[in-house]
């Protein structure tokens, strides 16, 4: 239960414990590890977007200087179809294995076909060039409309659409359909004073983490592997690699390195099983890193989408009906973020009648992976844009329109359950009052508002706490630190134990040293792993009270814990001095042995996060360029454990959302080859593109967490897309529904409007 209390450690802006290593270059990321004898693995990738593999000849390559191992799909075990019990991807281990290394077909340009390990990168590259692959080209399917057409080339002849009342007779590129509904939409639209409809498209985009995928794998002759991997979830690397290679889970140890960004894109595996196999064949440790080009072409971008939204409302702004038709590209294998996209699209609003239909669609592009609130940015971009059009038509302030229909505690969410305590209204009201909302606008400038939402996850976490003999505290947990979570864990342990933050050290332990812990993602670490750390601390406190009781010769239930010390309860007649952690720990051998606290849990009660963003943009009518003048991100964060790092999530997510709206897209040629596979032409925001990003943290505590924590990491990317698009419309006078709003498109739209 959340307690309204004064905190000592929580809420301060402490220096993070891994900070010094990160500002001095000492922190070791995936590509920074080497063992004696390390050799280098490189992957041969398909030059075609869709083709049958006729033959692979590696004879010449295997004889080349420095080459110690070559593998193809034939060297991997056959993996049966088995659902990956993870999240919304509805992925299958067979697909995962086939994505790691193609078997009989290549399904996207860049799909891995073979891999070589050699004593230098140059030798490995030379060997790749000597591998002869014969392909029979097939017609690639590159977009939703083509993939869903009746006469579409079917990418997987064994795939029959699931989710329909009856299994279809013909295979399809539509892997899954899903429907959510409430009430009677037709009646709802009929009762409306105004009905609007719009079709919105978003492109394939990439998470854009600055550190490419990297790992170092070594396996001994007994079959025990050790892998250093840059990953958000080393337990998932272990389980994925075990499935792909047919190994026992206990034979793979994964050590998480520092990770240079993930945002969901590093919650799966690409090169890790390949490196293990190459290590087995060569007898040497194998280092594999992706180039930036490989990251774009062959990791997991976010789904391109086509979303059709229809909204009916009364003249006073009350929503009467909403419908959504949402098609998400899954890439080469089924499992896009269509389901969460469908569950989020109308989540902020009270509406009695809605119908949402979602489609998971195969195309010959890389298999999509999670990207920060997966699915929500795309569908909510569409809905928040149409709501803006509605506000305009009704002459209503866009915030007022949302206030009129905002969900609150006790409302039934569009995806089913009733909301517990949430802060959407509070964010809307804060936005209205915010000084930035009344900054006057000049010519060619416009302001846009949008709402954002994400469920936030709970899932499994483990934590251990050791009290060292000098009373310092070691916290062992299993979540790679992508945003400052080591600091938050230390602060929560310090708060609970009543000791200074500086006396707590957090270790992110490998898969053999930490208890099983789900991935760093889903905005779950501060919430769920934080809960485990707090529970482990309470376990320690319980033990310390017992130890103190034994030391004093009184009963355990006569001891209290306060300010980091065991003291007799008020009224207990005992002439004793308080015992600190250091006192108890240094005496531990005599009172029962080392002090070890632990907790493991399957967290429930993750609180959803709502946000409201507004942006001011100015258009240059000669070039079509949109400049972001001001950006304000307001979000219900539950309880900010470390305010600077919570602000950092709001600002970082905003920057990604702005990039998604303004510039980022995969550009494909007619052969299904990405033409802009580099940071020059896949343009993410740079420092000169953005203003200061103003944040306001609203704290509506989550009653299910001891400190009121609500996940904060993912919600920030959702609202910026429509906030920018709505601002652009206000600035230009022209509504563009397809992202990105890059200068050529804005210019074309302006010229079209003028003609």
């Amino acid at each position: 239960m959340s307690e309204a209390r004064q905190f000592n450690a929580i809420g301060r802006r402490v220096i993070r414990p891994d900070g010094v290593d990160k500002v001095t270059g000492r922190a070791a990321f995936g590509a920074d590890y080497t063992l004696p004898g390390t050799i280098y693995g490189k992957v041969l990738r398909s030059p075609h977007a869709h083709a049958r593999i006729v033959s692979i000849d590696t004879k010449k390559a295997s004889r080349m200087p420095g080459v110690l191992a070559i593998v193809t799909g034939a060297d991997f075990p056959k993996v049966g179809s088995e659902e990956i019990t993870g999240g919304e991807g509805a992925g299958d281990y067979k697909d995962l294995a086939t994505n790691v290394m193609a078997r009989d077909r290549v399904l996207y340009h860049g799909h891995a076909v073979a891999a070589v390990a050699a004593t230098s990168v140059a030798e490995a590259d030379a060997a790749l060039a000597a591998i002869k692959v014969r392909y029979e080209k097939l017609r690639p399917v590159m977009d939703i409309d083509t993939a869903m057409a009746d006469d579409a080339v079917v990418i997987d002849e064994q795939l029959f659409t699931s989710g329909l009342p009856e299994k279809p007779s013909k295979p399809s590129n539509v892997a899954t359909v899903m429907e959510l509904k409430r009430g009677d939409v037709e009646a709802g639209f009929a009762a409306a004073d105004i009905v609007l409809e719009g079709t919105y498209r978003t492109p394939t985009v990439h998470q854009g983490y600055i550190e490419p995928h990297a790992c170092l794998a070594t396996i001994n002759q007994g079959g025990q592997a050790t892998v250093w991997a840059s990953t958000q979830g080393h337990f998932d690397v272990r389980s994925g690699a075990a499935k792909v290679l047919g190994m026992k889970v206990s034979d793979i140890k994964v050590i998480p390195t520092e990770i240079g960004g993930g945002f969901g894109g590093k919650t799966t595996i690409y090169v890790e099983p390949v490196a293990i196999l190459l290590s087995r064949r060569s007898g040497r440790p194998v280092k594999m890193t992706m180039t930036r080009e490989e990251v774009f072409r062959a990791s997991g971008p976010a789904s391109a989408t086509k979303c059709v939204i229809k909204i009916g409302a009364k003249n006073d702004g009350t929503l009467t009906a909403m419908s959504a038709w949402l098609a998400y590209e899954a890439g080469a294998f089924k499992g896009s973020s269509m389901a969460p996209g469908a569950m989020c699209v109308f989540a902020p609003y009270k509406v009695d009648n809605f119908l949402i239909r979602g489609f998971d669609v195969l195309v010959n592009k890389p298999k999509v992976a999670a990207y920060r609130a997966p699915g929500a940015p795309q569908s909510m971009y569409a809905c928040e844009s149409l709501l803006d059009e509605l506000a305009g038509k009704l002459g209503m302030d866009p915030i007022d329109l949302r206030l009129k229909n905002a969900v609150e505690e006790g409302c039934q969410a569009a995806y089913g359950p009733k909301f517990n305590a949430i802060g959407f209204r509070e964010c809307l009201e804060a936005a209205k009052r915010h000084p930035n909302y009344s900054v006057p606008l000049g010519p060619d400038e416009g302001r846009g508002v949008a709402a954002g939402f994400w469920f936030n996850a709970g899932m499994q976490s483990s934590a251990e706490i050791h009290i060292n003999e000098d009373g310092t505290v070691t916290v062992i947990e299993g979540n790679p630190d992508i945003g400052g979570s080591r600091a938050s864990m230390a602060m929560m342990a310090a708060e609970e134990l009543g000791v200074p933050y500086e006396r707590v050290r957090v270790q992110i332990a490998d898969t053999e040293s930490a208890g099983y812990t789900n991935t760093t993602g889903g905005s779950r670490v501060t919430f769920a792993t934080g809960m485990a750390v707090i529970q482990a601390a309470r376990d320690i406190i319980g033990q310390c009270k017992q130890r103190a009781a034994s030391t004093w010769g009184i009963d355990g239930d006569m001891v209290d814990w306060a300010d980091g010390k065991a003291i007799p309860k008020p009224g207990v007649n005992a002439d004793v001095k308080p015992l600190t952690l250091a006192n108890i720990a240094s005496n531990a051998a005599r009172t029962g042995g080392p002090l070890l606290g632990r907790a493991s849990l399957n967290a429930r009660g993750a609180g959803p996060g709502f946000s409201v963003n507004f942006a001011d943009v100015r258009v240059d009518r000669e070039t079509g360029k949109l400049d972001v003048l001001r950006f304000t991100a307001i979000q219900d964060v539950g309880k900010a454990i470390h305010p600077s790092y919570v602000e950092g999530q709001l600002q970082g997510g905003a920057a990604q959302g702005i990039g998604w709206a303004l510039n980022e897209e995969y550009v494909y040629n007619k052969d299904g080859v990405m033409e802009n596979a580099g940071f020059l032409d896949y343009r993410i925001p740079v420092a000169s593109d953005l203003p200061m990003i103003d944040t306001q943290m609203i704290e509506v505590p989550n009653p299910s967490h001891p400190y009121g924590v609500r996940g904060v990491g993912e919600t920030p990317i959702v609202a910026p897309l429509a906030a920018i698009a709505n601002a652009s419309c206000a600035a230009t006078g022209v509504r563009i529904r397809d992202l990105p709003l890059s200068p050529p498109r804005v210019l074309a739209a302006l010229e079209h409007a003028a003609s």
Binding site: E88, E179, K418, G458, G521, R604, G605
Partner: protein
């Protein structure tokens, strides 16, 4: 009586029925109750869906208690990114 809700994509396992009123005190009991009426349904649900009990979303529930007027919603599992 607890109210139990199935979204459309899971209602295929309950012959289209989306709402139930059930007298059970734990999620395990709910699964047993459903299995009696729709043999084979547990396999489709266990390890594959998430459940919200009174607004709290849980992956892999089993031992969770269900109160007399709880609301139980079956949902897609959402992991995030």
């Amino acid at each position: 009586m607890a109210s139990v809700f199935f979204p459309d994509h899971l209602a295929q396992y309950t012959h289209g029925r989306r709402e139930f009123d059930v007298n059970v005190s734990s999620f395990r009991d709910l699964l047993e109750w459903l299995e009696v009426r729709y043999p084979g349904i547990s396999e489709k649900l266990v390890g594959r869906v998430a459940v919200a009990i009174d607004g709290d979303i849980i992956h892999d529930p089993f031992l969770e208690t269900i109160a007399a007027n709880s609301e139980v919603h079956f949902l897609h599992r959402i992991e995030g990114g």
